[in-house]
């Protein structure tokens, strides 16, 4: 059981805010931290790791990591940390990166075989692809058999195929080691696949938490489906108007009426939804 009750003043780029988090995490839980950038997710991870100080308390099982009197050094907290930019030791081979944490060759080769890195164990990080680097980072973080694994947007720099592969490997590792995990992520599908609970931060406080299914699946009204996207262009073809909308990585063309064309501006955030056969398009957030 991890108990977190911390307060920390943050001097952000836009305005100062108070990070105020009260959270309990069960042993073996996989928690996703979500929220817009600047909401305090990374700071929370850094406070948990002991890189930054805060007021309040953190206790893990019976061990006190932070209270009014003590601040346990990062070296003494049983944590693993996976950074977004991998942060591998470039002067060491893959295997040496793992053994640097703990001289346990059996564990190292076991982790490398789970992540299919055994053949690359003597390579240096500079010669690896992004996906391979992040797998090494993941193995390195697991080497200390941490009580708590912290991951700061670990997969955001990878392409979608590699992301899916790594998500499976994270799941395998989580099942095998039963480590408690806190992962910062913006990707709903990633959160849905991995996490058992999601916590949404805004302006330094928790605004929503629950099962990923309940938090992520928010459909309003009676639409059969709806996607939000960005309006890229409106073309007039003969008598009809065609709107080009970017939904995620995909561009779609939608036929719209002249009235709709008048009311929409290029750059608007739009929601594309359909009831039965007629797709509807309406503005959710004007560009200006």
């Amino acid at each position: 059981m991890i108990k977190i009750d911390i307060k920390k003043e943050l001097f952000g780029s836009q305005k100062d805010m108070l990070l105020n988090i009260n959270l309990e995490i069960k042993q073996g839980e996989f928690l996703a931290l979500s929220g817009v950038s600047g909401s305090g997710k990374t700071t929370l991870l850094r406070v948990l790791a002991g890189f930054e100080d805060a007021q309040g308390g953190i206790s893990v099982d019976d061990e006190i990591w932070l209270d009014a009197k003590t601040t346990l050094a990062p070296q003494k907290r049983a944590i693993g940390f996976v950074f977004q930019d991998y942060a591998l030791f470039n002067n060491m081979s893959v295997l040496q990166n793992l053994l640097f944490v703990k001289k346990d060759k059996t564990l190292a080769s076991h982790l490398l075989s789970i992540t299919e890195l055994s053949e690359l164990k003597d390579r240096h990080p500079n010669t690896l692809s992004g996906g391979q680097k992040q797998r090494v980072a993941l193995c390195r973080a697991m080497m200390g058999q941490p009580k708590l694994l912290l991951m700061d947007e670990p997969l955001s720099a990878l392409d979608s195929k590699m992301r899916t592969k790594l998500q499976s490997e994270i799941l395998v590792l989580h099942k095998e080691f039963k480590t408690t995990v806190i992962m910062v992520s913006h990707d709903p599908s990633e959160i849905y696949r991995l996490a058992s609970r999601v916590v949404v931060l805004e302006q330094g406080i928790i605004i929503n938490e629950g099962k990923p299914k309940d938090i992520l699946l928010k459909t309003s009204g009676s639409q059969k489906f709806s996607f939000s996207g960005e309006l890229l262009d409106i073309k007039k073809v003969d008598v009809i108007f065609i709107a080009i909308v970017a939904i995620g990585q995909q561009l779609v063309e939608v036929v719209i009426t002249q009235d709709e064309a008048k009311n929409l501006n290029i750059g608007d955030r739009v929601e594309l939804s359909t009831k039965a056969f007629t797709p509807m398009i309406h503005c959710t957030k004007p560009a200006k």
């Binding site: 890189f51 070296q75 942060a87």
Partner: protein
Amino acid sequence: MLEALSTLELTPFVLSFKLAGLTTIILFILCLPFAWWLSQTSSKSKPIFEAITALPLVLPPSVLGFYILVILSHNSPVGAFFDEYFGIKLVFNFSGLVIASCFYSLPFMVQPLQSGFASINKNMLEASYIAGKSKTQTVFRVALPNMKPAVMTAIIVSFAHTVGEFGVVLMLGGSIPGETKVASVAIYEMVEIMDYTNAHIYSAIMLLISFSVLLSVYIFNQKTKAIGQFR
């Protein structure tokens, strides 16, 4: 010319390189923790220390030499203390030169090391702390191996700069043969007595050595960079 070469007195060169070698070793040991602290601290006093470190870059060597002379001479508390308790005189001998050179070459050791440390990915250092490694272990096993060009530059440039020292040496060491008469001072004296042949030989040797030292640094740095890119 040949005759001059065969009777060439090498002691000033030996002295120059001995001085530079010792200075570099002492500076490296002393500056490593200092440069690390400068690179990691957000203390308000940091600019003060940075300014003091950079002073030898802008001060005339005579000013630097004068103050060191005043502080170390046996009339000052520091000089008197060393003379009385250890029987060591700190001016007009080799140990005085080493102390003066350490001040003179300070920025050339501190600045490359500091920027080297600053260039290391902070997350990499934090990953090492999480792995349970202390700051000292992190410096030696993670930071330094990942900033070889900076270490190389610091060492070589400090060495070369000390070899090229003149004003401070003259102020502090005088020109005692075999003790404080380094190559640069020897050349100065040769020109003074219009012994141009030997001045030429000495100067050419200095020029050649300095150039090859610098060339090797730049070749090393280019190679390390290339390895970093293509590995």
